[in-house]
């Protein structure tokens, strides 16, 4: 069995870890190196300042201690003192004292000597100038050289040059390089564990949250992040857990809603299936019902037409019947008076026969008019209107209704002539009823046909009661009538509109006039079958 610590991954497999580790490490290393690069010149300056400070102190000390000897030319004391100084201060390599007059003294730890002033390395022009810095001896050794004027009470006595051993300075520099190298090495070594743990500390919770987010994205809403930290990442994990919890709750609610929806959809589907199953039957039933209604309407319309026809026949027959009655009365009178002869009998018989023939002809004419014709054909508009007017002629005369007509004789239409005549008959019948209801002293009905661009307009005008504005929008509805009970069926206008608009592809509209009403038929001019 693998021990638990073996299962811990030393190097987390997330890019952020390596990035953080790399950035942190590089930054720390760069800062260390930068610090080193910055500190080296500063440290050099600092060490040079120390050397300068030491040089000024030593020079002042020598000058102060040797001032009396210098002023009294006691060079023995000067040499003695400087030898002691060199003996007590190992960092001083040599002292060169160059008086303005007399010989120069070069004093070193290894010995001293007197020099001619001209042979001294310091020129008179430099006697009043303080200078210092690192110089290289002819042997190639570096040393710190400090040159300072020697003045007493403002009067220049000479100049002094002190050479300091730079081995300590160089040792310090070397030590500084070494320390910086150690620090860099230590930093490098420290970066590994510190950077590792820092990067781990920073990225592990983020990686944990990221992995958890991936699990949540893949649908594992029972994912829970356990990060116990009192910082933003802790807050993030807490918020993440709350978010996942809310997401899970929403998902549960959504699932419930989905479940309800699925149930409803199933139910609706079942209903739809059921509906689909019965739809054909329903359509068939509806169509059948519709047909039945239409048949009923047609039947009713036919009955109404029959009524109209019977009324019209009655009006046509009234005169011949009166004449026939007179013929029979004349025959009876001739017989009773003995005036009946063969010739008079034959004359009366011929007369009666003519009347009967006329009545029979009327029936034939009516029968022909109302004979249903199902075949479309080209017919003459004026003739069709005249045929309808003839049917009602007797009736109009009985009621003294004046029927006028203005219809060009050359307009040809295509359709079922019987249906069109039935429409005209309906409109004339309604106009007759309107003028009779209005008790017009001079009832008038006028039929006007005019030819427009690709259409013909037929107006049936009357000076009757006109339309009631409150019910005008309902006049084309089936079974709607404004006539007295028993006089109107409410089918005529409905059937007329159906014929004009559905069968003849025209339009039928009702127009109110100042003294009456106008029914306008607009039909396209066609002399041959068209589709649509």
């Amino acid at each position: 069995m693998t021990p638990p610590w073996l299962s811990v991954r030393l190097l987390p497999a997330n890019r952020m870890f390596f990035r953080v580790f790399g950035v942190f490490g590089s930054l720390l290393l760069a800062m260390t190196i930068l610090y080193g690069l910055l500190i080296i010149p500063l440290q050099r300056d600092s060490l040079l300042k120390v050397l300068y400070s030491q040089a000024t102190t030593v020079s002042r000390s020598i000058i102060q201690a040797s001032s009396d000897a210098m002023l009294t030319d006691d060079f023995g004391f000067v040499v003695e003192h400087n030898l002691q100084v060199l003996q007590n201060n190992k960092s001083i390599q040599s002292v060169l004292i160059v008086p303005r007059r007399g010989s120069a003294l070069s004093i070193a730890t290894s010995g001293w000597e007197m020099l001619q002033t001209a042979a001294a390395p310091i020129k008179p022009a430099d006697y009043d100038v303080e200078s210092y810095g690192i110089v290289t001896s002819p042997e190639g050794n570096a040393r710190y050289r400090y040159i300072t004027p020697i003045r007493f009470s403002g009067v220049s006595w000479g100049v002094m040059q002190i050479d300091f051993d730079t081995s300590e300075y160089e040792a310090n520099i070397d030590e500084m390089y070494r320390q910086i190298a150690y620090i860099s090495l230590f930093t490098l070594l420290a970066i590994l564990p510190i950077g590792y743990f820092f990067a781990l500390w920073l990225t592990r919770p983020i990686a944990t949250i990221s992995q958890a987010a991936s699990r949540v994205a893949s649908g594992e809403l029972d994912t829970h992040v356990k990060i116990d930290r009192n910082d933003e990442i802790g807050d993030l994990s807490h918020s993440f857990n709350q978010m996942v919890q809310a997401l899970a709750e929403n998902r549960r609610q959504l699932e419930n809603v989905n479940l309800d929806l699925e149930i409803k959809v199933t139910e609706r589907t079942q209903e739809l299936d059921e509906l689909n199953r019965t739809l054909d039957q329903r359509v068939r039933d509806e169509v059948s019902k519709r047909k039945e209604q239409e048949q009923l309407l047609i039947h009713q319309s036919r009955l109404a037409a029959m009524g109209e026809m019977i009324g019209a026949i009655a009006h046509q027959w009234r005169q011949p019947l009166n004449a026939l009655s007179l013929v029979t009365q004349n025959m009876q009178m001739q017989y009773l008076t003995g005036q009946q002869t063969e010739e008079s009998m034959r004359a009366l018989q011929d007369k009666a026969q003519q009347l009967i023939q006329r009545m029979s002809q009327t029936i034939d004419e009516f029968r022909n008019f109302f004979k249903p014709s199902k075949h479309s054909e080209t017919f003459n508009l004026a003739q069709a209107i005249q045929a309808a007017a003839d049917i009602l002629e007797g009736m109009f005369k009985n009621h003294n209704i004046e029927l006028g007509m203005d219809c060009p004789s050359d307009i040809e239409l295509y359709g079922i002539p019987g249906e069109f005549s039935q429409v005209i008959l309906n409109l004339l019948g309604n106009a007759r009823d309107a003028v009779l209801t209005a008790n017009q002293p001079q009832p008038k009905i006028f039929i006007r046909a005019s030819l427009g661009q690709n259409q013909v307009q037929i107006d049936v005008e009357d000076n009757g009661t006109g339309f009631d504005p409150n019910t005008m929008h309902k006049i084309f509805e089936p079974y709607f009538t404004t006539k007295e009970e028993g006089k109107g069926t409410g089918i005529g206008l409905y059937m007329s509109k159906t014929i004009v608009e559905n069968n003849m592809h025209g339009n039928l509209e009702a127009i109110s006039m100042a003294n009456g009403a106008c029914m306008r038929i607009t039909l396209p001019i066609k002399t041959s079958p068209v589709t649509g």
Partner: protein, 291 residues
Amino acid sequence: MKSAIALLVCLLSLCAPASRAADILNMGFYLPGIRDANLADVHITLQLWADEVGKAHGINATAYTYSDMAALYRDSMVGKINLIVAPGMEIAETFAPEELAPGFVGKHHSSSEGLVLIVRASDGIRQFGDLRGKKVLHLSNDRLSSVFLENQCRQQASAACADLFQVGEEKRNSQTIHKVFFGQADAALVSISALHAANELNPQIRQRLHILLEWKTSSLGYGLMSARTDMALRDRVVKSAMQATNTVRGKQLLELFKTDFMDRVDVQELKPYWQLHRERQEWANHKARKK
């Protein structure tokens, strides 16, 4: 005198392994003889080494310092002091040869020791009598210089030095040499080792200065055992001291006091000093008789 200090300290360290639990070494040290070293440093060094050696080797080593040779002599005579460390002239003036036993001295490989009377070569002084009316310097508080110079004046000019030339004193040999070199004095009596050192520091000195008189001896300072000291202890100390330069501690001490090696010294080596002392006594007695 540095050689004498080194000798004393070496004795402290080298005698210890050979000493018994009851061995006692008391050192009498004449401080005015120390010229080129800080007295306080010398005293601290002596006591430090004495304590260290004593603890390490079970010996009671004690350093006593004196500013008066008479007091040192008295303590030596009563057995309080085993070892006398002082300049040769002061020892010769205080002790008789039979009161002393062999001891040790620090020496240099390169030079002998003694006194030289130097003058500037350019001044034309070729004999002692040319110093008349000149300025002559010697070390202050140096009995040897005083006795030698006075003896020379008596012997060569039959007069007191003060009557021949102006006598001045300086604290250090090097200082004295530099005074002559830079013309602030006409002549100076300095030690041979000091002149040798000055020559090493500046070869111009050898070129410019001329030695008028020279007096040689084995050393200027000595460490001699008291004749009253137990013979066995003296032999043990002598044998161990001869090996001083063979030990690390001994080398450190020689280096510290700028001495090359330790050498056995017999009482007879102080004969030049006793000779100077006798001469001094003779003209002093002669002077007293003339009065």
